[in-house]
């Protein structure tokens, strides 16, 4: 089962401004375990790409927050999840039928349980 994880950055990832609780290690672990990862943030696309370069990872997608629906069209997966700290994250996920975790929930790496459920 292919599961796509979309990470908001600011307020969600530890690299964000403000920093969130989701660490690079968590993101890397998800990638290594076969999750499709990428970012969906209000940051400029070039800034998102630069962030991924800095941690030496290649995301499957980068998108603006309102483009979460485009991610679904462009990247094939069996399940889609977005996580973030703002109501705009929640709205984007809800409008595009993504599962959603608030940033404070995401620090528990709830996606790992999805694999265990398989």
């Amino acid at each position: 089962m292919k599961i796509l994880l979309s990470f908001d950055i600011d307020g969600t990832l530890e690299l964000g401004d403000p920093p969130g609780g989701v660490t690079v290690e968590m993101v890397r672990r998800a990638h290594e375990q076969g999750f499709i990862i990428g970012s969906c943030s209000d940051r400029p696309l070039s800034s998102q790409r630069a962030m991924w370069e800095r941690i030496d990872m290649v995301p499957a997608f980068v998108a603006s927050k309102h483009q979460l629906g485009d991610v679904k069209m462009k990247v094939s997966a069996d399940a889609y999840y977005h996580m973030g700290d703002r109501d705009t994250d929640f709205q984007a996920a809800e409008e595009n039928d993504f599962g959603f975790w608030w940033a404070h929930e995401a620090v528990a790496e709830p996606w790992l349980a999805l694999q265990e459920d398989e």
């Binding site: 403000p18 400029p44 800034s47 603006s64 309102h66």
Partner: protein, 429 residues
């Protein structure tokens, strides 16, 4: 000190400013720029940053604290003399001895004067409003002789959390129709949409302007982006920005930051003995307008900016062709064209701004619009709008130094409904 009123030059015909060329900018200083204050670090408060900026400005001008006889500030950097902290969600004051936020989220002239140990100050004023009006107030005060060597700090801050999100208890008057659903930002997009419909343009055509501003801002060492987000900002980035309200993208909105700048303003006579080449003030004019109906329209934005431009030309005695550098406020980038077209800089007429943006507005080209990068290029410091023209006219803008012969610079802000125009020159004549 009580707020002074009636200093603004906002009644037509304004006439040539009585102090034209007799007041000068001679020093500037900046703090570093952070994204926000953490509410804890006492070396990163607005007060701390204002002190850093003031000391740097005095050093830049080559003066000692004992030479300063006036301090004029905009305490919170906001309209209505408010602390910026007031715009965040309610929160308690700090524990004693901090029974005031003076020096934390706002900086009064009294506080700064005490902290800097300014012994010879005879004029203090903490009611400078937003940045351009603050500078106008200072120029008028020095011209009027209220003080001779004046520090003019402008602190502008940002706290954690979201601002303008505090719940209000009332929505009086026309606000009853707009406040409940947040017209403030929607209104910006509404007027821009009217502009695009009237002149056959679209939002994407703003991209070259905003991208160029970021390029310029990255060349300014104090800018937020140079310090914290040095990646180039591209047209792809701009056109993929999320709508805040239709017609207003997230990349049309300046990023709130925590920073302070300070200027030394003095008489042309005293300026001759100071370290830096004087930048003479030829004029300041102001204007404040109210919409005829509930919300501002394009017609009003154009009418008001036309009045402001005519007033500035009348007050300075200049014509459009005399302006070498033009720096219109861009805190909402989609407002800049109203000023550009009203002033007719480089012959730009109504509806032509986006064509102009598509041409060469590069820093080293013939039309270096907002050579300092504005707020889109530096963050919401606002002070790039004076520091850059000042440095350009002094010939010390470094990598940002324009190639055109720069002798006269004009800057205007904030928005068409409430703005001040400042006119600077290398010559007092």
């Amino acid at each position: 000190m009580a707020r002074e009123i009636g200093w603004e030059r906002n009644v037509d015909p304004v006439g040539i400013w009585e102090h034209r060329g007799k007041v000068a900018l001679v020093g500037r200083g900046h703090s570093t720029t952070d994204r926000r204050w953490d509410g804890v670090s006492m070396d990163k408060t607005l007060g701390a940053y204002a002190m850093v900026a003031a000391q740097a400005a005095m050093e830049d001008a080559g003066i000692s604290p004992d030479e300063v006889d006036g301090v004029i500030t905009s305490a919170g950097g906001q309209p209505g003399h408010r602390s910026f902290g007031e715009q965040w969600a309610p929160r308690p004051y700090f524990d004693p001895p901090y029974d005031t936020e003076d020096g934390l989220t706002f900086v009064t002239a009294e506080w700064l004067s005490r902290q800097l140990g300014l012994r010879n100050v005879k004029y203090l004023n903490s009611h400078g409003e937003t940045f351009w009006n603050l500078m106008g107030l200072a120029f008028q005060a020095v011209g009027d002789g209220r003080c001779e060597v004046c520090l003019v700090p402008y602190p502008n801050g940002n706290l954690e959390g979201r601002y303008h999100q505090a719940e209000g208890l009332s929505a009086p008057g026309a606000a009853q129709w707009s406040s409940p659903w947040g017209w403030g930002l929607s209104g910006q997009g509404f007027v821009f949409d009217q502009y695009c419909r009237k002149y056959g343009s679209n939002h994407d055509r703003m991209a070259p302007f905003v991208v160029q501003e970021r390029k310029n801002g990255l060349l300014w060492p104090h800018s937020y982006y140079a310090l914290h987000e040095p990646e180039p900002f591209t047209e792809e980035d701009y056109v993929n920005g999320r709508w805040i309200a239709k017609g207003l993208s997230i990349f049309d909105c300046d990023r709130p930051v925590q920073a302070a700048a300070c200027y030394v303003v003095t008489t042309a006579e005293r300026a001759r003995d100071m370290r830096q080449k004087p930048v003479y003030v030829l004029d300041h004019t102001e204007g404040m307008f109210q919409p005829r109906s509930l919300v501002q329209t394009l017609e009003e934005s154009e009418e008001w900016s036309d009045i402001l431009a005519k007033r500035a030309y009348a007050g300075s005695g200049l014509r459009p062709g005399d302006i070498d550098l033009f720096s219109p406020y861009d805190g909402f980038a989609i407002n800049a064209q109203y000023f550009l077209e009203a002033f007719g800089w480089r012959g730009v007429k109504r509806g032509e701004a986006h064509d102009f943006y598509a041409g060469d507005i590069s820093l080293h080209g013939p039309n270096p619009l907002n050579s300092g990068g504005g707020n889109m290029g530096t963050g919401r410091m606002r002070t790039a709008f004076v520091t850059d023209p000042m440095e350009q006219l002094q010939g010390r803008a470094g990598d940002r130094q324009v190639k055109v012969d720069a002798n006269v610079a004009v800057t205007i802000g904030v928005l068409p409904g409430n703005a001040c125009t400042l006119v600077f020159s290398t010559s007092p004549d």
